[in-house]
Symmetry: C2
Subunit: 161 residues, 2 copies
Amino acid sequence: MSQRRGRFPTREELRIWRDFIETTDALRAAMAARLQNDSGLSTGDYSVLLALSEAPNGRLRSSELAATIGWERSRLSHHLGRMDKRGLIRRENCTGDNRGAEAVLTEEGAAAFHRATVPHLRAIRELFVDGLTPAQVAAAGKLAAALREHLGNGGGPQEIP
Amino acid sequence: MSQRRGRFPTREELRIWRDFIETTDALRAAMAARLQNDSGLSTGDYSVLLALSEAPNGRLRSSELAATIGWERSRLSHHLGRMDKRGLIRRENCTGDNRGAEAVLTEEGAAAFHRATVPHLRAIRELFVDGLTPAQVAAAGKLAAALREHLGNGGGPQEIP
DNA sequence: CGGAAATGATTGACGTGTCAATTATATTCC
DNA sequence: GGAATATAATTGACACGTCAATCATTTCCG
């Protein structure tokens, strides 16, 4: 196994890459479809509502909300616009910093979130957990950690001293 | 470990789910950004060009192309429209079946694909393979297979006889 | 033959994500 | 104090994906 770095992926590695990325994509799509069907929410909606539900008073500053769910600001801004139009959240000015904006959970948003929770948890079990052995679930966690760590380091070319 | 099915995911399973889905998403985004940067192609463009490159005479019927890369037809139709406008492919009528359409690789498309290939393979190695141990790469393959198999079966509630 | 159903592909509407530019307010520092 | 800069958020343009509707052609079959 000499010289693992600085070469192209093998056929097998390539096959696994494609399989992996396509499958996770299909998984995401299936989950999105389930959520949409069960509750009329997109996964984005769910993330936002979850974060707001867990925040004190159901309100968060835009930038903190973005950080919490790991979104870019502009993405969040667009999404909040759509959710506002649907009455799931409300925008308010941020007291103390007139640049800021706060997103506030509405009654309707909270209700939608509560309706979505149980079916969504069930979907996670059915689509993900039930498809794997406990060992594989653990492996998925390890895998995610390793990939995330690597991506965090830029994922770039690895220096070999 | 009694009664694994028919319950909600545990906290740990939920954490892993979120970690897994977010990380694979970040991976996809990173790969898309790399490809875009290196060659001006989207991952969709790359899939289409790859399939056409491997097809005899660089041409494929729309429906076969869709099947090859696993896309819905309407998605492909929209994408081919964009690629056509950029000169990467050309549309021709299908001889023998006037309903059909063929997508044909242009010189420009072939050139763009060739320019993209090496950097893309390098990116797969750097972002994916290099972030994992060989055992983890193999585990990723197994994981994808298990998830895909489960999704293929509907991923629905599991009957317990 | 000829009309109904099936097939191949496109289109339009809409939600979504990214990037670059913009607006408005705060902070910094001379 | 006031110009330069930094920060918070929004906006517009555009690529992308999905769904339902549409259009053209072909196939089926009575």
